[in-house]
């Protein structure tokens, strides 16, 4: 619930509602990743993400 509330607040404050469908699709893919793979480790170049 924290996540959804924070996400809604973020979209509202930043007026970035166009990001909502992208995030939802990514979360659906995310669910797949969680169900199908191991650890998610970022490659270390400059830690931009």
């Amino acid at each position: 619930m924290d996540f959804l509330r924070d996400l809604w607040d973020f979209l509202k404050v930043r007026k970035k509602f166009w990001l909502a469908p992208i995030i939802l699709v990514l979360l659906l893919f995310g669910a797949l990743i969680v169900l199908t793979s191991g650890s998610a480790i970022a490659p270390f170049i400059y830690t931009l993400f």
Partner: protein, 628 residues
């Protein structure tokens, strides 16, 4: 049951999950403890949640998470995610591989940062404090302004990138801090410097210091330096009069790829391939290092001018990774327009933990602030000695554990006398005293010391003790009261963040053809009476030592001055290449025994290498530390 009112208001600041994670504890607005996680885990730039550092900070004040009023994390995850999505969108279809690499991390972890922080805090004990997320550059700005000596100051933060911002100009007054200008990703002075760091064969995020140290080997005014400057300024960067800059992303890969530079275009433009790490450094790379250093300085000067024009302040405070470019800082102080400059000693991301906590206290909770000019050291940082301290009992236990023969000095004067004599005799001495430093520099709490008058000390420290590149310079620690006789600097530099020239009176004439000699021949010319700390261009990265913030270190150097005639010692961090600075007496003893250090002081104990039992450990200890 009614909740017991808190008698002390405590805030835990956290930086984590990118690089240099750290924890800071504020109690009633004062810094009680601050430490980087790498010092405990022995993993340099450790990015994990700072369990050990947070546990230490809470223990220092006898608190548990239940006692915390809030926890402040040093950036806004959603804003960063917005930047990522918009960047990938803007560059599409370029960046697909980077996108597919980044997204799992976000979808599984970073989008749920609040939950993740709560889970990690739960491992420290019961309690569910509120969590605040001040912006990354607001955290840097807070770490620069709130602890500073000034009632009012212009604020300049410059780093690689936070959420969107890569540079901000702000204005602090009393307990208020406002951001006036922002420069946004991908246009970043920090990332430009990192890109050139990578091109010159050093690691991004740790090699920037090496690039800065390499720059003075470049030949100023030479045709090649001027050519590199022109190529960078004409083709790669549009540096505007106000200090803002636009990078030509045709040359840079970091926005969408997994490297810093687009190698084919960089090589075609510079006429120089990317240097392989650890290979010999040729004059071309030294000249390139000088060119990018000069451009960085010019950008910082212009940004400072804009900050001055916007705020009208005579004081400037700085933070962010680029604020660790002490060469630019020293020149900025000399050049003006600011009369006074104060730089957060933990200017990199570790300092974000402090800034986040201070932003939560002064901005989130609206608590008033007083300027800190009257406090010891003239600011709030307590000399940056904010980490763990070890008692005599702890040290004795360590000595017993290693069966290490040591001489205990009941009289600290006598210990200082003995160490002074060792230093004057050419010994490299490990110096472990009091609380550990917060930030990247060792400031006399966890240091290796030498006599700067010895011509071979620089070589000995680099090659036999630190096991690092031979070209790298060493810094002097000088008694605050004797700065003027040794260095051309009109301000104190307690955190080793200002570079200034060695005084004319200490210099020696250069031999004919000095600038045309190969790097190491130039390096080993005795350029001054203090050759071990005089860089090839006569500069030095100065630490002025104050009796108020580190009386023991001050006393040692004062004894060295009185008995050996020199108010300066060489000070380098107590570690080997790739190793985090030592934290515990056991870390210090291991480092002492692995290297060719001659003596070690642990509190009141003196250990001499010749008396120690043979050092045995399984495997090659060098393999434990990845080279930086």
């Amino acid at each position: 049951m009614a909740e017991t009112p808190r008698t002390r208001r405590a805030i835990l600041g956290i930086s984590a999950f990118y690089h240099d994670s750290a924890a800071v504890l504020l109690v009633d607005g004062k810094i009680v403890a601050a430490a980087q996680e790498e010092r405990f885990t022995r993993r340099k730039h450790d990015p994990d949640f700072p369990h050990f550092a947070a546990r230490y900070c809470l223990a220092e004040a006898g608190l548990s998470p239940a006692d915390l009023e809030c926890v402040a994390f040093y950036d806004k995850p959603y804003l960063k995610f917005e930047r990522l999505l918009e960047t990938y969108h803007a560059f599409a279809p370029r960046g697909l591989v980077s996108f597919l690499t980044a997204m799992p991390v976000w979808i599984r972890e970073k989008l749920f940062m609040r939950r993740m922080l709560k889970d990690e805090l739960a491992k420290l004990g019961p309690g569910s404090p509120e969590i605040m997320f001040p912006e990354h550059h607001l955290s840097h700005a807070s770490s620069a302004f709130f602890p500073s000596p000034f009632e009012e100051a212009a604020v300049l933060t410059i780093d690689g990138v936070g959420e969107w911002a890569t540079t901000t100009i702000g204005h602090g007054k009393g307990g208020e801090l406002s951001i006036l200008r922002e420069l946004h990703f991908p246009h970043s002075l920090g990332l430009l410097y990192s890109a050139l760091t990578a091109w010159c064969g050093f690691k991004v995020n740790s090699g920037e210091y090496k690039l800065m140290g390499l720059a003075p080997y470049g030949i100023e005014g030479s045709e090649r330096v001027e050519r590199f400057r022109k190529i960078i300024l004409d083709q790669m960067v549009d540096l505007r009069p106000d200090g803002s800059l636009l990078l030509n992303m045709d040359y840079f890969d970091y926005a969408t790829g997994l490297t810093m530079c687009r190698a084919d275009r960089f090589e075609a433009a510079l006429g120089l391939p990317q240097r392989a790490g650890e290979s010999d450094i040729t004059q071309e790379y030294m000249d390139l290092a000088l060119a990018i250093q000069q451009i960085t300085e010019e950008a910082v000067f212009r940004m400072a001018d804009t900050a001055h024009a916007l705020t009208g302040s005579k004081n400037l405070v700085m933070a962010g990774g680029v604020a660790l470019n002490c060469v630019a800082n020293g020149k900025l102080l000399k050049r003006g327009p600011f009369e006074n400059i104060w730089i957060q000693p933990a200017a990199g991301d570790a300092g974000g933990a402090l800034g986040a906590a201070l932003a939560a206290w002064h901005i989130g909770l609206s608590q008033p602030r007083t300027a800190h000019a009257s406090e010891p050291g003239g600011d709030m940082m307590q000399g940056a000695y904010l980490g763990p301290v070890f008692s005599s009992g702890d040290i004795e236990r360590t000595l017993r554990r290693f069966s290490a023969p040591a001489e205990k000095f009941a009289d600290f004067d006598a210990l200082c006398s003995r160490v002074s004599a060792l230093l004057a005799g050419g010994a490299a001495v490990g110096w472990f005293q009091g609380r550990m430093e917060y930030g990247p520099r060792a400031l006399g709490g966890r240091s290796i010391l030498g006599d700067p008058r010895h011509g071979d000390m620089q070589k000995k420290l680099n090659l036999k003790i630190k096991y690092r590149e031979g070209f790298r310079p060493f810094a002097p620690s000088v008694l605050e009261e004797h700065m003027a006789e040794c260095f051309d600097l009109d301000a104190t530099s307690p955190y080793m963040l200002l570079v200034a020239p060695v005084a004319e009176s200490k210099r020696k004439p250069l031999p004919e053809g000095y600038w045309t000699r190969p790097m190491y021949e130039r390096l080993y010319v005795e350029r001054s009476e203090l050759p071990a700390i005089t860089h090839v261009d006569f500069s030095a990265r100065i630490q002025s030592v104050s009796r108020a913030t580190n009386p023991r270190y001050w006393q040692l150097i004062d004894t060295f001055r009185r008995e050996q005639g020199c108010p300066v010692v060489v000070n380098t961090s107590f570690n080997v290449r790739g190793e985090p600075i030592v934290c515990t007496p056991a870390d210090a003893y291991a480092c002492f025994m692995r290297t060719e250090m001659d003596a070690l002081v642990l509190g009141d104990w003196l250990l001499v290498k010749d008396n120690q039992p043979e050092w045995r450990e399984e495997g090659d200890w060098r393999a434990k530390f990845e080279l930086d």
